[in-house]
């Protein structure tokens, strides 16, 4: 463990560990992550190894390296290594789970109004299937923010009970976010899992933002039915690496990877105990360098202080940054009475922008292009619950000045759009 003097201070000094342009301010880490230089270099070294002898690497080394990464992840999330496999991304993981369920007519898939947009499309595609393919119906749990955890939990239980009363003999599956993306909201997902268990409902957890942002994930204890979390957002791996957690009791449900891989056993064949892990070894991406970047990512995080130190900085900056942002824009942060309830390392701040301006692709593009091309920065921007918001992510390479600059940039862009609309 490095001493205080040998590990760099967090803030702009940490930018030297990332590949950002010197004039680029990244307040959107949550979208695509950012790969620290030691991880990029580890990936380069792995590529050198593969290319020096692809057959040797793929046939004799790959599995061991894969298992090493899985074991580190299993430790981080408090699960058994045989319950942890890797998939390219969260969309793939969630689609794998939802499409493997043997649905029957009358089953219900409960999503939320805040379900991530591509996942919501997958839900539409699955629940809108033709009659020849048994498929569930959908029930949407409406979530408008801000609201407290207590309120969420109460209305969640109510919603499940209502669904159950309409489908008393059917399978009900609830899709739950650990941390909503837009707006950025830390959810009481563990308590929601408990409620699911009490109500006899399956829980499929979209933990896209959890690894590297949420402490003490504790999957064996929380015991969801399925859990998917990106390694390439807050956990610093190369893009294309995501954890799919399936407790042993549910592994028989996952009959195929997406796409189907070599070692999938058809229904009529016997399934040995480690078949689940075997399924996911060689499927999909042949080049699994992203999967193999887990070790470098976690080693780097340990070397700069570890999960608690990293997240203490980011969490406190998210709050301070949100306050400063609100100050600059003359608006407010999205909070409840307890500031720490909804905020992890991402903060939503209201934009100085009237609700009368419609959320169109054109408006989105103005924000996107001005921020990226003119101001050389990025943060999320969206309409939710009758207001316009920005979502800013606090990372180890950010400082309060970044939030300030974002505020000024957003004020300018909002003014530009307001003036254009007025004409």
């Amino acid at each position: 463990m490095s001493s205080e003097s040998s590990s760099p201070a967090f803030g702009h000094a940490m930018r030297s560990y990332f590949g950002f342009d010197s004039d680029y301010i990244n307040l959107n880490h949550g979208a695509f992550g950012a790969v620290p230089k030691p991880v990029v270099e580890a990936a380069h070294a792995l590529t050198n190894r593969v290319e020096s002898n692809p057959d040797y690497f793929m046939r004799l080394e790959y599995e061991l390296l894969l298992d090493e990464g899985r074991a580190r992840l299993a430790q981080l999330v408090g699960a058994d290594v045989d319950e942890c496999v890797l998939v390219p991304n969260v969309s793939n993981g969630i689609n794998t789970v939802l499409r493997n369920f043997e649905w029957a007519e009358g089953d219900i898939l409960v999503s939320a109004s805040t379900t991530f947009d591509s996942i919501a499309r997958a839900v539409e595609n699955i629940t809108g299937a033709r009659p020849q393919v048994p498929h569930p119906g959908v029930s949407k749990f409406i979530l408008d923010f801000p609201q407290s955890h207590a309120t969420i939990l109460a209305s969640f239980r109510e919603h499940l009970r209502a669904v159950k009363s309409q489908a008393p003999n059917n399978t009900i599956v609830a899709l739950i976010d650990t941390i909503v993306s837009q707006p950025a909201i830390l959810m009481p997902w563990k308590q929601m899992v408990k409620i699911c268990k009490e109500e006899g409902v399956w829980s499929v957890i979209d933990g896209a933002h959890s690894l590297g942002q949420e402490l003490n994930i504790g999957l064996s204890e929380a015991d969801p039915d399925f859990w998917v979390g990106s390694c390439s957002k807050w956990m610093y791996t190369k893009r294309g690496c995501t954890l799919l957690y399936v407790p042993k009791r549910n592994q028989h449900i996952i009959k195929t990877t997406l796409p189907t891989a070599h070692s999938v056993l058809a229904a009529s064949e016997d399934k040995p105990p480690t078949a689940f892990v075997m399924e996911f070894i060689y499927f999909g991406t042949v080049e699994a360098i992203p999967f193999l970047s887990i070790k470098a990512a976690l080693d780097f995080r340990d070397s700069i202080g570890g999960e608690e130190t990293i997240n203490a900085y980011c969490h406190s900056l998210a709050k301070a940054g949100g306050r400063r942002l609100a100050e600059v824009m003359g608006t407010s942060m999205m909070v409840t009475d307890n500031e720490d309830e909804l905020i992890a390392n991402m903060v939503n701040v209201e934009l100085p922008f009237p609700a009368t301006i419609a959320s169109t692709k054109a408006v989105f593009r103005v924000f996107q292009n001005r921020l990226l091309q003119d101001h050389k920065m990025y943060a999320g921007h969206f309409f939710h619950n009758g207001k316009w918001w920005t979502r800013a992510c606090a990372q180890i390479y950010n400082e309060i000045g970044d939030f300030e600059k974002l505020g000024y940039a957003l004020v300018a862009i909002c003014n530009e759009i307001k003036e254009a609309e007025a004409r």
């Binding site: 990332f18 590949g19 950002f20 342009d21 680029y24 990244n26 959107n28 695509f32 992550g33 950012a34 590529t47 290319e51 020096s52 002898n53 692809p54 057959d55 040797y56 793929m58 046939r59 004799l60 390219p88 991304n89 969309s91 793939n92 969630i94 689609n95 591509s118 499309r121 997958a122 539409e124 595609n125 809108g128 033709r130 020849q132 393919v133 048994p134 390439s232 190369k238 893009r239 294309g240 009959k255 195929t256 997406l258 796409p259 189907t260 070599h262 999938v264 058809a266 229904a267 009529s268 499927f283 999909g284 991406t285 042949v286 080049e287 360098i289 992203p290 990226l372 091309q373 990025y378």
Partner: protein, 456 residues
């Protein structure tokens, strides 16, 4: 040439533009300079995992740096231009329209996407062969296992066999399928044939264009698994061949970074692909209030989840590299001729024969019988033995498998190979075969003093 000596360091320091102004290495071992292989490694198995040329690696590393310099800017504003350029160049290369081409992770993903999107009904038939690639035949089995449970039919392909024999047998198989007694129970029956353009094990070229024609005449859909085709098969010309679907790995013979494949869907069939897998944000649901029709096929495949896009974008650099080293015709001529002569030499050294005497089944992969009695059944122990002897003891590799009652090796001939590689492999297999025979306890084999085993 100092630039070329950077094999063990990051290729991003390679000045590719300067390199391409110089003469390329000659075909043969000279080509090792522009690949990342351990110079002593004899690679006769390019067909399995592909290989990444150093100049393409350099571009990949540069792209990685560009993405990290501003991930949102690149992924939201710039990436799409790279993707479209790749699609355009591939389309020209295979004789298709740009808007009939999308990029996916690999061939299994492409085939899986097609098969899962087809609207199956009870009574439909999925036709595979005994040589269909493992992941694809498992995908077919899975689809038959879930409702609405289409049937499976399997066309038996045992090599060696001539193209004319395949065509006759395939036509007969199709005829029988379309005239099955239960045809009247399923008047709307749909039959979908999954056809390899080039089989993996053995590495054999199929008359796929003729097979597609036979299917068309019979009203059978064709899904062509062309995993090995792009960069190996000359004159692919899809607008002429007109398969219903076609998928190929760019990270095999085309030399891109691993994790890049082409999915070709002609306009007439794009409505069948309702959703990529996984479903993207661009998917439009018929149940949407404001539904005006499905999203464009090509648009849906632009983003199906966060991945490392560098392999997709590496294709542009690949075409530049292939042009520099001599162009498609020269590449094919070298590899193809060496496959034929190398295979014969290999057979000579092992005292066996090439699977395909007249070369009809051979593009750049050649199959040669191993001096192991076919009665010895393949086991995971034998597989492990051969693998470790080749890779660990002798620093070389070629594929090895049991097919149609015999043992074979499949050699992939690439621009860096020479005849001496085949000779070294032959010597190695003579020793290894002896060991396999001894370990299997086969009593009916005599081995000569120069380590050739003869079945008696």
């Amino acid at each position: 040439m100092a630039a070329l000596e950077l094999r063990s360091t990051f290729a991003k320091h390679l000045d590719v533009e300067a390199l391409y102004k110089t003469d390329p290495p000659k075909f043969g071992h000279d080509m090792h300079k522009v690949f990342g292989f351990d110079p002593k490694y004899i690679n006769l198995n390019h067909g399995s995992y592909g290989s990444l040329p150093l100049p393409v690696r350099a571009e990949c590393d540069r792209l990685t740096s560009e993405i990290e310099s501003s991930p949102d800017r690149f992924l939201r504003l710039i990436g799409i231009n790279h993707l479209n350029e790749v699609r355009e160049r591939i389309a020209k290369f295979i004789g298709a329209n740009t808007d009939e081409i999308v990029i996916v992770n690999n061939a299994s993903h492409g085939i899986g996407t097609i098969l899962r999107n087809i609207e199956w009904h009870k009574g439909d038939i999925i036709l595979g062969t005994t040589t269909t690639y493992g992941a694809v035949s498992q995908a077919i089995k899975y689809l038959a296992d879930i409702p609405p449970n289409p049937d499976i039919s399997t066309f038996n392909l045992q090599f060696p066999i001539s193209h004319s024999e395949i065509i006759i047998a395939f036509r007969e198989h199709i005829r029988k399928l379309t005239q099955r007694p239960d045809a009247q129970d399923y008047p709307e029956r749909k039959t979908v044939a999954v056809i390899d353009s080039i089989v993996s094990n053995p590495g054999a070229r199929l008359p796929w264009k003729e097979m597609v024609s036979i299917c068309k005449e019979a009203g059978v859909w064709t899904v062509v698994d062309a995993a090995h085709s792009i960069g190996q098969e000359p004159n692919i010309n899809l607008s002429e061949a007109q398969p219903d679907f076609w998928v190929s790995n760019c990270h095999k013979w085309l030399l891109s970074k691993r994790g890049c494949a082409v999915l070709y869907v002609p306009h007439r069939n794009q409505h069948i692909i309702k959703s990529p897998i996984p479903t993207p944000v661009t998917y439009l649901s018929p149940h949407d209030e404001d539904y005006h029709g499905p999203e464009l096929f090509t648009k849906m495949f632009e983003w199906t989840g966060t991945i490392d896009f560098v392999p997709y974008f590496s294709v542009t650099a690949v075409f530049d590299f292939r042009k520099w080293i001599g162009g498609e015709e020269k590449i094919y001529e070298y590899c193809h001729n060496l496959a034929l002569t190398g295979g014969k030499r290999l057979a000579q050294i092992m005292g066996t024969s090439v699977m395909d005497e007249d070369g009809e089944l051979t593009y750049n992969m050649v199959n040669v019988e191993l001096p192991i009695p076919g009665t010895i059944q393949p086991t995971s122990e034998i597989d492990a033995l051969i693998k470790t002897r080749l890779l660990l003891d002798r620093n070389m590799y070629a594929a090895h498998f049991h097919h149609n009652g015999k043992w074979w090796t499949r050699c992939s001939t690439q621009i860096w190979n020479e005849i001496s590689d085949f000779e070294a492999l032959g010597e190695a297999f003579n020793d290894i075969s002896l060991e396999v025979v001894k370990s299997a306890g086969n009593q009916h084999v005599t081995c000569t003093t120069d380590n050739r085993c003869i079945v008696s």
